[in-house]
């Protein structure tokens, strides 16, 4: 795979890397036929980030399927896992990146297990970073996006306006939706001392959303920190899509400066979600919740919300019911969450 990034897109790419860095120490670099996907999951498996840059984002994007001896039917290059710390220096000082760097080329060399980032800077300076990657199993968060009964689409400005009311120390927030209103409120543990904690609640009208579809009254609790990370990346104020299957996917349509083409990086953030590996032999990660989160996303991990929302669980169609026992899974099957 070889691709070239120029101009303002350098900043976008750099920002994506920085945003992912706040989730985890490593990420999956997955070149696909249609574009480049970056994926990451935090150590407590409560947040999954997926950034997809379509081939039109790049000045030049060349991807060739490399036939692997052990994968006769699938001719995909396997994704590579990179340590974030080694990539961050490449995109340091994101805001001035496009001033100093004219072009960034990325090459992958599968046989050599190397990814090369080459920055062509001003005054003839060329910076080359050769990074080793680890071949690994693909990472994919499994969710039936199109089967979500509830979908909310709203401007990320709204998200920022909501989050500003919660103290920075607030770890978790509950979102409850009914067809009449949307409510974000601070979440406290059952055994917390209510006489010492300040609780905040924000009520919004459905009109505030660009798209509002509520099939099922539900309540979802998620980690506010992870949502804040996403917000820090949204400098273009794109619309945000949220559904109580706790999928947040965000589509950014940048039209302004790039008149020759338009591109759509899609960023999905899935806090508190089940992750399932595709390969049939492995165990499901299924419901992985540890009370002591490691890695730099701190805070106690919430039990996945579907355990709490008994009401919404009952109302969801059968195919959405929880996976109770690990089972083998074919590669085509998307799997089910609830």
């Amino acid at each position: 795979m070889k691709c070239v990034i120029v101009g303002a897109h350098l900043r976008v790419f750099g920002r994506a890397i920085h945003a992912i860095a706040r989730i985890s120490d490593e990420f999956w670099f997955d070149p696909l036929e249609k574009g480049l996907a970056l994926r990451s999951v935090n150590s407590s498996r409560s947040a999954y980030a997926y950034v997809f840059f379509s081939s039109m984002f790049f000045q030049h994007y060349c991807w060739a399927a490399v036939p692997q001896p052990h994968q006769k039917d699938k001719q995909l290059s396997p994704p590579c896992k990179l340590i974030i710390k080694s990539v961050l220096p490449v995109f340091r000082c994101v805001n001035v990146l496009e001033r100093n760097v004219e072009k960034c080329s990325i090459y992958t060399n599968i046989n050599d297990h190397h990814i090369t980032f080459q920055l062509l800077c001003k005054h003839g300076v060329v910076k080359t970073y050769n990074l080793t990657f680890q071949e690994c199993d693909p990472l994919q968060a499994v969710f039936a996006k199109h089967m979500c009964p509830n979908v909310l689409k709203f401007h990320s400005r709204l998200l920022a306006d909501i989050m500003v009311h919660f103290p920075t120390s607030q770890e978790e927030v509950t979102l409850s939706v009914t067809p009449m209103k949307v409510c974000f409120k601070s979440y406290t543990e059952e055994d917390a001392d209510l006489s010492k904690t300040m609780l905040t609640e924000i009520q919004l009208n459905p009109d505030e959303f660009d798209y509002f579809q509520i099939g099922v009254d539900s309540e979802v609790t998620f980690c506010l920190k992870e949502l804040r990370v996403k917000d820090s990346w949204c400098f273009q104020k794109p619309p945000v899509c949220l559904s109580p299957s706790i999928l947040t996917s965000l589509e950014n349509q940048l039209l302004s400066a790039l008149k020759t083409w338009c591109w759509k990086p899609a960023l999905s953030w899935l806090p508190c979600l089940t992750l399932t590996r595709r390969l049939p032999s492995s165990n499901h990660l299924a419901l992985h919740h540890s009370r002591k989160a490691q890695g730099h996303v701190q805070g106690k991990l919430k039990k996945p919300p579907w355990i709490k929302t008994a009401a919404s669980r009952q109302m969801l169609p059968k195919s959405h019911r929880g996976v109770k026992t690990p089972r083998a899974q074919s590669q085509q099957n998307l799997g089910v969450l609830w």
């Binding site: 300040m198 905040t200 924000i202 009109d207 505030e208």
Partner: protein, 283 residues
């Protein structure tokens, strides 16, 4: 016991926010006393034992458009609540463009002061942000602990210099020592002194003016005191800095009463609000 209040005017809201922010910088927990006409923020933390004391009085009419209060009983028509002013400050922080702010005393799981901020939004109906601030109701029998402190029998009373200047001087002095000596006389002179083993730094302020206080029996105070003689008190510089740095009241008058070697009594006066702060002297 009932309490409901509403602020609609933005200027009043911002002013109230600033007062609450000042209180939040001075005390982690304090007492809020509500009467029919006034609100008080009180910290009566063992002044006699060396803690600071604070008394802040606001005229409710100058801030609230609606104010309804029913005290614990008819003869004692007041409410005393213990709360963390930081919570109230945080609740009001994001309300600078609010349409209205309503406050209400509720008792769902525990007594709370519910602050509901109505914010404008792009849609037809407003966005409502509700903050439930837990409060403690102080029983009638403890109300005596929160009486207004009387103005001490001071030796010198003097107007303070411009608070901004005083703040920057005290901030620099803080780097040298934890203690500062405030001394003043009746000729409008005030000195701030810091002494360490290596150095002694004094800042002199002149022509500050001395307020005249009429005593209750009609006589002028301290007439027989030598105008040049200084009354001094050595206090913890951090307490002084907390007040100067944190205050957002922007008083029209600021003065200081010094009881030699006992206490420094600072008064910040504003049309709508008055703040008194007592710092005990250390030996």
């Amino acid at each position: 016991m009932r309490f409901r209040a509403k602020i609609v005017d933005l200027a009043c809201l911002n002013h109230f926010s600033r007062v609450v922010n000042t209180i939040a910088k001075l005390a982690k927990t304090c007492t809020l006393r509500l009467t029919v006409s006034k609100l008080y923020f009180i910290l009566s933390d063992k002044v006699l034992n060396g803690g600071v004391g604070m008394w802040c009085e606001l005229n409710q009419g100058n801030f609230f458009d609606e104010f309804q209060m029913e005290g614990v009983s008819a003869e004692h028509n007041e409410i005393y609540l213990e709360l963390m002013p930081e919570n109230l400050s945080r609740a009001l922080k994001t309300a600078h463009n609010a349409k209205a702010v309503k406050m209400k005393l509720t008792n769902k799981h525990c007594p709370c002061l519910r602050v509901a901020v109505e914010l404008p939004s792009l849609s037809s109906s407003s966005r409502i942000v509700t903050h439930d601030i837990p409060v403690g109701v102080i029983p009638r029998r403890l109300w005596n602990d929160f009486r207004e402190p009387s103005v001490p029998d001071f030796d010198v009373s003097i107007y303070l210099p411009a608070l901004k200047i005083m703040k920057s001087v005290v901030e620099r002095m803080r780097n040298l020592s934890n203690y500062v000596v405030i001394e003043a006389n009746l000729s409008g002179e005030m000195n701030l002194k810091v002494e360490t083993d290596l150095v002694c730094v004094t800042t002199h302020f002149k022509d500050l003016g001395n307020p005249s206080w009429a005593l209750e029996d009609g006589c002028q105070s301290s007439q027989d005191r030598d105008p040049e003689s200084m009354a001094e008190a050595r206090i913890d510089i951090r307490k002084l800095q907390q007040l100067l740095a944190g205050q957002q009241v922007n008083p029209t008058k600021a003065l200081c009463n010094i009881v030699s070697k006992r206490v420094v009594h600072l008064i910040l006066l504003h049309e709508d609000v008055s703040l008194q702060y007592f710092i005990p002297a250390l030996t």
